[in-house]
Amino acid sequence: MNAAKCVIALVACLLTCVPAFAADAIKIGAILSVTGPASFLGEPEKNTLIMLQDQLNAAGGVNGQMVEVIVYDDESDVNKCVMAAKKLLDQDQVAVVIGPSISGNTLAISKFFSSAEVPLVSCAAAEKIVRPVDPWVFNTPQLDRHAVTRILQDAKAKGYSRLAILTVSDGYGQAGRSVLKELIPAQGFELAADEVYGPKDTDMTAQLTKIKGAAADAIICWGTNPGPAVVARNRVQLGLTVPLYMSHGVASNKFIELAGEAAEGLVLPAGRLVAVEQVPADHPQKAVLEAYVEGYAKAYGTQISSFGGYAHDAFALVMEAIAKGDSAKSTDIRDNLEKISGFAGTSGVYTYSPENHNGLDESAFIMVTIENGAWKALN
């Protein structure tokens, strides 16, 4: 009899204690591509979120409340992503969702969030995510448009007029290609060649030979590792001297490792995260960048990847919105996100508004080059 009473007491205690604890912590969902082809994005993003959660809770949480991040891995697969989104919204009842890591997955789940009235802060860059504006969907990475604008400003300053583009035939490359094809003629340049390569291709000499024949002043290559490294190597192997621009998709040390000496002198737009020590001390992002780099090195013993910064900013923005409105209700978080102005993150300085759910402009990018195997900021 006594034992039974004990069990009942224990169960009763658990039933009352657990919900009390759960109600105390703010639940934040995250859907990230921790494994699969996009794991180079999802893995650092997940590490970043866990690190920030621990840091925040150790410092007493936000508005006196603890934060609990629930991370699901979508394995870079759109179906798994949809299932994870439904689980977060229906079962876990999270206040806000961070992610997914890739654009296709974000677009596939964004419609659930307006009906559930839960804000989604995506770590993916496609312009379609925030244009036209969905009141419940935000994103943190710099847009392709900003990167292309920076490249074309640089090309104009150097007096180039005929530009060739070489893009990868996946979502990232084709989004970049459409922006390039729109902005190159609009800014008064001539599109000399428009070449494409496959994400698994290992040799781009055919495309480069064709571009060589088109007599371009410069080449713009749009892709993520390892393709652009092959392009850089093939360019040197063919003895081409045409300047080569890369996209921000390769702004990580892995690219320098893969391309080796062929990376020397290439120019690309990148977030300030690749060259933190070269950011001037009075820059608004300096403190955030240094704290992130140090914290990550301490927590994981490895260098940061610039892609983890997207999750860092998503988390920081959500916390800012919660702190600002002193409320962790989904609708309040959404409203307060739109009121954020001049907030320094790792990718740039965010100013959200009802018309702008990306919050960045081209000043989020600096032009960098690779010199002696290291990133060097150009002014």
């Binding site: 494409v196 000499t205 055919a206 024949g213 390892p226």
Partner: protein, 293 residues
């Protein structure tokens, strides 16, 4: 179209094609002894490249030693695949074995991902990175290595199959394994040997290619697919056909990218493959399959 571009496309195509050809050779060797298409062939290629990188960068061996160890390691992997995955179910129909090889390929790929991570790695070229200029086209020293080693392997295999007792025994197994065992050939031993040789050929391909194409845990998928296509193009079961099929596929791809559109180069190569199979279903160099009664 100037002649130097033409030459450049041809060189690119030949280098690419040699890689497809070497993968295709591996398919042929196993098919010839067992009648099974080994879909883990691409993984042997990956193992060659990734193990070289591992021995060289993580364990600090010199490049020649790392390369030899990697090829030996992949050959051992080939033997293990036969021992652990194929031999226990040797009496099953070929289609079951083929599906098992697909499982093996997924397993090896997963293992490589866990052991060595998801990153792409580079291997230093065997003899420098300075291109040789020839009639306005650039030839990488590594491309010459690839062509020479491929030709050498092809010749060695030809000698093996038509000049040695083991090679002939392996061929006998492919024609009729029961009859072969009746005349005293150890069929199981030949199957083991064929897996080892094809892993060796694949790994050599992976090693000589890694400096050009770079390597990662998942390079085997595409190479396996292209190698299989090369095999079909040249006629399944004919080693020379397989090598020629690979070279033709590579050159078609390269010229397709150069003359038509780089966006459609893979599609172009496969469309030509389809057309050829409609016209000559046994492949370019395949013999007509005579039905046994």
């Amino acid at each position: 179209m100037d002649p130097s571009s033409l030459l450049q496309y041809l060189i690119t195509g030949l280098t690419l094609g040699s890689t497809y050809g070497l993968t295709a050779l591996g398919f042929t060797i196993i098919f010839n002894t067992t009648g099974v298409i080994n879909f883990a062939q691409g993984e042997f290629v990956m193992l060659g490249g990734m193990m070289s990188v591992y021995f060289m960068h993580s364990l600090g061996f010199g490049e020649p030693a790392a390369v030899v160890l990697a090829v030996l390691g992949a050959t051992m992997a080939g033997a293990l695949v036969e021992r652990l995955a194929i031999r226990p179910v040797r009496d099953c129909p070929a289609i079951n074995l083929i599906i098992i090889t697909i499982g093996v390929s997924i397993f090896i790929r997963g293992l490589a991902m866990l052991l060595w991570g998801k990153d792409t790695h580079v291997l230093e070229p065997f003899s420098g990175n300075q291109p040789i200029m020839f009639l306005g086209a650039a030839i990488m020293p590594q491309a010459i290595w690839v062509l020479v080693i491929s030709l050498f392997l092809l010749g060695a295999l030809k000698m093996f199959f038509s000049g040695t007792i083991h090679g002939k025994a392996m061929l006998a197994c492919s024609f009729d394994s029961k009859a072969a065992s009746l005349v005293g050939i150890g069929v199981q031993r030949m199957v083991l040997l064929s897996f080892m040789i094809s892993a060796l050929v694949g790994a050599v391909g992976g090693v000589i290619l890694a400096p050009i194409t770079m390597t990662s845990y998942d390079v085997g998928i595409m190479l396996g697919l292209k190698g299989f296509a090369a095999c079909i193009l040249g006629g399944l079961g004919n080693p020379f056909g397989a090598a020629a099929g690979g070279v033709i596929l590579g050159v078609l791809e390269s010229f397709g990218a150069g003359f038509v559109s780089s966006a459609y180069k893979d599609a172009l190569a496969f469309v030509i493959l389809l057309i050829l199979l409609f016209v000559k279903p046994s492949g370019l160099f395949g013999l007509k399959d005579s039905k046994r009664v």
